[in-house]
Symmetry: C2
């Protein structure tokens, strides 16, 4: 079923399997369809975080674009960056534990890239947002208890700020929703501009 | 029914009628009881935001404390501060609209105070957290549409960052959850310390 967003008058399609992104868009009042995409992130050897998230966001949007005649497809990707290296999603409990030990007592960055791709015509815009996150010093038993909840496993950097890891984070600088996985304000102004240009 | 929190081994009682505070504590993994309190905020003529939220937090906790033999009672209060004056909850649509026009394109502060009160013995600790919030410039029609959703009405400053107002906020500096109404990290470290001292 086609869903038309009231704010923009567009058919919005979220090319993402992340329940968190869908939840953020929903709470912000957007109406949209969800079309999960599977992009092999391992194929991307890009080490620059902005290039990485921008490329993956666009790849995800493009992966499903051909299936729509008239829509704005939304792709997004989020990474955690510490000491210049990208932390992805931990594959094992040990990897999650090691990531949290690295983040403990330190400041890291979260980058989310998003792409808007319009059908017909393939006009696209790609943007990103960056937020600084300060982790408190964690004890080994806190990390152990956190990883045991299972929350760490499907998240970039091995934590979810919107879950129990909220307790570990002193402060952030920037957009909170960017850390959850989708920068709502930046998306809003970018989408508004993208749609207005289409109307001209 | 008595509920014992696993993390602290305490019976925690939240003296609040705010569904947002309960939701934040729940998502962070705490187990607790809810006991709504009704404190007449109009009685408080305190203009200093820290004194204001600290006093109200403690008043809310004290208001129900006598009904418990053994528990840690949690009180909290949140205000929005702009140009040195406290913005409470708007009483009318016009008041909400006026508040949002004042916040538009400006930076304001959010203060949440919380109190922990232990029964028996009435040992108490009061803490607060402060977060800086940057609002984007809003158009009159955006404010009108936002107020029409009804979201503004029961919230300090006339907005909910966890709802559609997420679209209006560029960035924050500090604890996000403090803006929603409860500073999870500060609460966590304060509670941990409070409970450890009790054990000695």
């Amino acid at each position: 079923m086609k869903v038309i967003d009231e704010m923009t008058g567009c058919r919005l399609v979220l090319a993402s399997q992340s329940p968190r992104r869908a939840e953020l868009l929903r709470q912000a009042g957007f109406r949209f369809e969800i079309h999960p995409t599977f992009v092999d992130e391992g194929l991307l050897t890009e080490n620059d975080p902005v290039q990485h998230v921008a490329s993956l966001a666009l790849l995800k949007a493009r992966a499903i674009a051909e299936q729509y005649d008239q829509a704005v497809i939304i792709g997004a990707d989020t990474v955690v960056v510490l000491d210049g290296s990208i932390l992805g999603k931990p594959a094992t409990v040990d990897e999650a534990t090691a990531m949290l030990h690295r983040l403990s007592g330190r400041t890291h960055e979260v980058y989310t890239g998003f792409a808007l791709l319009q059908k017909p015509g393939n006009r696209a815009v790609v943007e990103h947002e960056r937020t600084i996150v300060h982790f408190a010093e964690l004890q080994s038993d806190e990390i152990k208890a956190y990883v045991a909840t299972g929350e760490a496993m499907d998240k970039a950097g091995g934590y979810g700020i919107q879950g129990r890891a909220a307790l570990f984070i002193d402060r952030i600088e920037g957009c909170y929703f960017n850390v959850v996985g989708f920068p709502l304000h930046k998306f809003y102004i970018t989408l508004r501009d993208f749609v207005i240009r289409q109307d001209r």
